[in-house]
């Protein structure tokens, strides 16, 4: 599904990623860990086609990231919701549905809004929504076209307990439906509960890559802590 070889990304003289290698088969759920600035977001942005690699090759289903074919199968969700605050939830979804060539009738959109737990709130401006409600709507927006690859950049940031539980069950369903997920996250317990593979990035390269089936949470945590230390 995703093949990354010798990936490097430089911002001026600073290397955000260096010689990063990873292969992700279809249907696998990867939890990406690392300190702030380790390169998790940079990797996700490159996979999404929002940023070009400085060197190395990246392919998604055989396509270069950023191409129309690659973008057609990607849903990207981060703590930034990519919603227009002065438009209603229905208007936001309708706008993106039009761009995606999807049906954009009121009934269908209201149904999608209800599916993320916002039934009856579709005609309110997004500006009036709480952070948790906005993130729920962002889920509906990001996965409107039913993509096969979900790129998730710290999607639980700012969510309360209820919102976290909702997103967790949503991602479990997506994983069970065979979607490939790559999620940058700091919460080891949450990552462990969702992922098939725990990957830690340190100084722009993969430093730990452990299948959940062969490692306990305690074991991962101790190895991860030893890796990042108290620097």
């Amino acid at each position: 599904m995703i093949e990354v070889q010798g990936l490097a990304k430089y911002f001026g003289r600073h290397a955000a990623l260096r010689e990063l290698e990873i292969s992700i088969p279809r249907g696998q759920f990867i939890a990406l860990f690392g300190r702030n600035g380790a390169g998790k977001t940079t990797l996700l942005r490159i996979l999404a086609g929002l940023s070009r690699p400085s060197t190395g090759t990246v392919t998604i289903r055989g396509f270069r990231p950023g191409t129309l074919a690659a973008r057609a199968g990607i849903g990207y969700l981060s703590h930034n919701t990519a919603l227009y605050p002065d438009m209603t939830a229905v208007e936001n979804l309708r706008f993106f549905a039009r761009l995606l060539d999807l049906p954009c009738g009121d009934a269908g959109l209201e149904e999608r809004i209800a599916r993320v737990g916002l039934a009856g709130r579709g005609l309110e401006p997004v500006r009036n929504y709480s952070r948790g409600m906005q993130q729920r709507l962002a889920i509906a927006r990001a996965f409107l076209h039913d993509p096969g690859l979900l790129l998730l950049d710290e999607p639980f940031t700012g969510l309360d307990q209820k919102g976290t539980e909702f997103l967790q069950s949503y991602l479990k369903e997506a994983h069970a439906a065979g979607k490939t997920c790559v999620m940058a996250i700091h919460d080891e317990l949450l990552g462990y509960s969702l992922a098939d593979r725990m990957v830690a990035i340190e100084r722009g390269a993969v430093a730990l890559d452990l299948p959940v089936a062969s490692v306990t949470l305690d074991d991962f945590q101790s190895r991860y802590r030893a890796l990042i230390g108290d620097r």
Binding site: L50, A82, L99
Partner: protein
């Protein structure tokens, strides 16, 4: 493709109608410029029509630059631009929709500013209005065809409000010079045949820069 261009345009229009962020600022600034020139040219009332084309386009361009500065700032809020870039569509569609919206906002501002200029400078121009509309339309399309892509570039910088006029004005100089000349011909000579050259230059500029901007827009938006 036209449906998607329309969707981007309609979204910008909807947000502007609700917030009125751009138009209020554009109109206020454009009219203030007119008021200042009205006082400055008090002693030259007899030859005021000769000065009006320059005054009008200074006012149009300043207010238009304010509108262009706002164009991508709404997209930066909540990282909406990122959401748009992930949509599997030709990113040139985004450019066309944005350019169309910028042109419509600027034309609305121009219409109001022009009405105020008729009052301030005591202009009687009913007969010339169709020609003026043509010049304003082509001039505005030329200005926004370059302005939209440069606005996208400057939106990613810290000093975007300062940077945009600095990179925009030198590039649109051919449009501005010919727009002022064409407006001057209409207001002062009635020799409408002489409009052909400035209008041809403005149209060629708009087509060339519009096409180049459309093709380059994809690269401008990536890191």
């Amino acid at each position: 493709m036209p449906g998607k261009v329309w969707a981007v345009f309609r979204k910008d229009l909807l947000i502007e109608l609700r917030t009125k962020d751009s138009l209020n600022a554009m109109l206020f600034f454009g009219i203030v410029v007119l008021v200042i020139f009205n006082f400055a040219l008090e002693g030259a009332r007899d030859s005021i029509r000769a000065a009006v084309p320059g005054v009008l386009w200074v006012s149009f361009v300043f207010s238009g630059t304010l509108g262009l500065n706002r164009m991508f700032s709404t997209e930066k809020e909540n990282s909406c631009l990122q959401g748009l870039l992930l949509v599997p569509m030709d990113r040139g569609i985004l450019y066309l929709g944005k350019m169309l919206a910028a042109a419509v906002f600027m034309l609305v501002a121009e219409a109001v500013i022009f009405i105020f200029s008729m009052v301030f400078f005591n202009l009687t121009v009913w007969k010339e209005i169709p020609y003026l509309i043509l010049v304003f339309l082509i001039g505005t399309l030329g200005f926004t065809s370059v302005g939209t892509i440069l606005s996208a570039i400057s939106a990613n910088t810290r000093m975007r409000e300062v940077l945009l006029p600095l990179i925009l004005f030198p590039v649109v100089l051919p449009i501005l010079i010919n727009a002022v000349e064409a407006t001057g011909i209409i207001l002062n000579t009635n020799d409408y045949g002489a409009l052909r050259l400035p209008l041809t230059i403005m149209s060629a500029f708009t087509i060339v820069f519009g096409t180049v901007s459309y093709l380059l827009f994809d690269f401008v938006l990536e890191d």
